[in-house]
């Protein structure tokens, strides 16, 4: 049994924390862009035009039907060839995870949109609200509120998927952890610590999700 030295990792404490910070930053960026994308897609999926609705449907099926890793690789390796642009590893990973998140949140919003009782629409008509006011003041806020539990769990999922960015060379916790593990030939200590860091954040996020869920759901209990 090889020797364990957890304190060994203490030397790399700062670097690892920096990696965690990068992971969180990256996650935050992709959550925002992914949720916006999902919102747009969900609204598009209600369009009058069959073509628009089909595009959204196909997009969602595609993103959900392939491993996230393929998205990453495709964007990193193929997109530069297709567009002729140089896309760095951070940007590729960000694009891939945004696309992933966009599909997930689109489904969340679509489900929440569907769950709005029709009586709410009737109430808007009875109050003489314009279509614009109905959409902006009632439908969208309700859609977002009802989607919050789902959105929050998507966020936790994204936090975990962010580790895949390391596969295309993006510097974040997983990448740094693997580098240190390889260069010091002490994978057990390093990777365990990395695991603990992910676990702490992941655990906290999951608990926050539960709390937020119950708060929002009680508000909506009509």
């Amino acid at each position: 049994m090889p020797s364990f030295d957890i304190t060994f990792v203490a030397k790399y404490w700062q670097t690892l924390l920096m990696g965690l910070g990068l992971t969180l930053e990256f996650t935050a960026i992709c959550i925002i862009s992914g949720t916006l994308l999902g919102l747009v897609l969900a609204l598009m999926s209600r369009s009058q035009h069959l073509a628009v609705r089909t595009v959204v449907r196909l997009y969602v099926e595609l993103i959900r039907g392939v491993p996230v890793l393929i998205l990453l690789f495709w964007i990193f390796f193929c997109l530069p060839v297709v567009t002729g642009l140089e896309i760095g590893n951070f940007l590729s990973a960000a694009i891939a995870l945004t696309l992933f998140m966009g599909a997930a949140t689109c489904e969340s919003f679509r489900a929440s949109l569907k769950s709005i009782p029709i009586e709410q629409y009737d109430a808007c008509t009875a109050l003489g609200l314009t279509n614009r006011s109905r959409t902006l003041d009632v439908v969208v806020p309700l859609m977002v509120m009802r989607a919050i539990p789902n959105l929050l769990s998507n966020t936790v999922a994204l936090f975990k998927e962010s580790s895949l960015a390391s596969a295309v060379g993006t510097v974040e916790l997983m990448y740094i952890g693997q580098n240190i593990a390889n260069s010091t030939a002490r994978p057990i200590e390093v990777l365990t610590v990395v695991g603990i860091l992910y676990f702490i954040v992941g655990f906290i996020l999951t608990r926050l999700v539960s709390i937020a869920e119950s708060r929002v759901l009680s508000r909506l209990a009509n």
Binding site: M1, P2, E61, L62, R64, G65, V66, P67, V68, L69, I70, F73, W74, F77, C78, V81, V82, G84, K160, E161, S162, S163, L164, S166, A167, M174, G177, Q178, A181, P187, I188, L191, T192, V194, G195, Y198, F199, G202, F203, L205, T206
Partner: protein, 220 residues
């Protein structure tokens, strides 16, 4: 933009096929582990013994709160050292994927067991099905049926996540795709082909799952 040459990808089809075999092998065995151990773990999870439930929670939380990539990398690097074993990449892969799947399936089983209306328990007792074993024949089949949609979703998820073992050197479909891309300098054909294969299989299994779910609904 270079011209696409999918013929080339077709010609290299056998390479991708080899990878696909490994991927399917991993998916199959990890699901065997995930479905059986998941059920057993769920039994631990609904046990009246507090320490057992605590163990259950620890297991679940570890797999739920950490990225699967980390789980895979940790497993691949640390288990051989810790247990002084030499196992093939495929074996390590199916083990960790199986352990991961066990956690999620256990939750699915547990949720469906707990979702069974107490009325059924009561009815079973009223019918004189006092014995726990017989009650299990009433509760368990229902629970399994209820959990099926989630179990299938998890299975498809496992299929897609198996691609990650390519990053630790297992020669699955993703690995072969990446290899093909670098060998032929044709990333678009290579990666697109791989994506299509994953997509087709995922969609087909998704449809089958949907079919069973609808049949399930009819029997209520």
């Amino acid at each position: 933009m270079q011209d696409l040459d999918f013929y080339f990808a077709f010609a290299s089809g056998h390479q991708l096929l080899d990878g696909l075999k490994v991927t399917l092998y991993l998916t199959f065995w990890s699901n065997v582990i995930g479905l059986t151990c998941g059920f057993l773990l769920a039994m631990v999870g609904v046990s009246p013994i507090r320490p057992l439930r605590w163990l259950y929670t620890c297991y679940i939380e570890i797999f739920r709160c950490t990225p699967i990539l980390l789980q895979i990398v940790w497993f691949f690097f640390c288990v051989p050292i810790l247990f002084n074993v030499y196992w093939s990449g495929e074996f390590l892969g199916l083990l960790i994927l199986g352990l991961n799947l066990t956690a999620f399936n256990a939750e699915a089983y547990r949720a469906s067991i707990q979702a069974i209306p107490p009325a059924h328990h009561d009815a079973a007792i009223a019918l004189g099905l006092g014995s726990r074993v017989t009650a299990l024949h009433v509760i368990m089949p229902q629970a399994a049926l209820n959990a099926m949609p989630v179990l299938v979703t998890n299975a498809i998820g496992a299929f897609q996540q198996s691609a990650l073992v390519a990053l630790v050197g297992v020669a699955d479909l993703m690995y072969q795709g990446k290899l093909l891309s670098t060998q032929t300098y044709r990333p678009i054909e290579a990666y697109t082909s791989v994506a299509i294969i994953y997509l087709v299989i995922s969609v087909v299994f998704g449809q089958i799952a949907g079919f069973f779910e609808r049949r399930n609904e009819l029997y209520r």
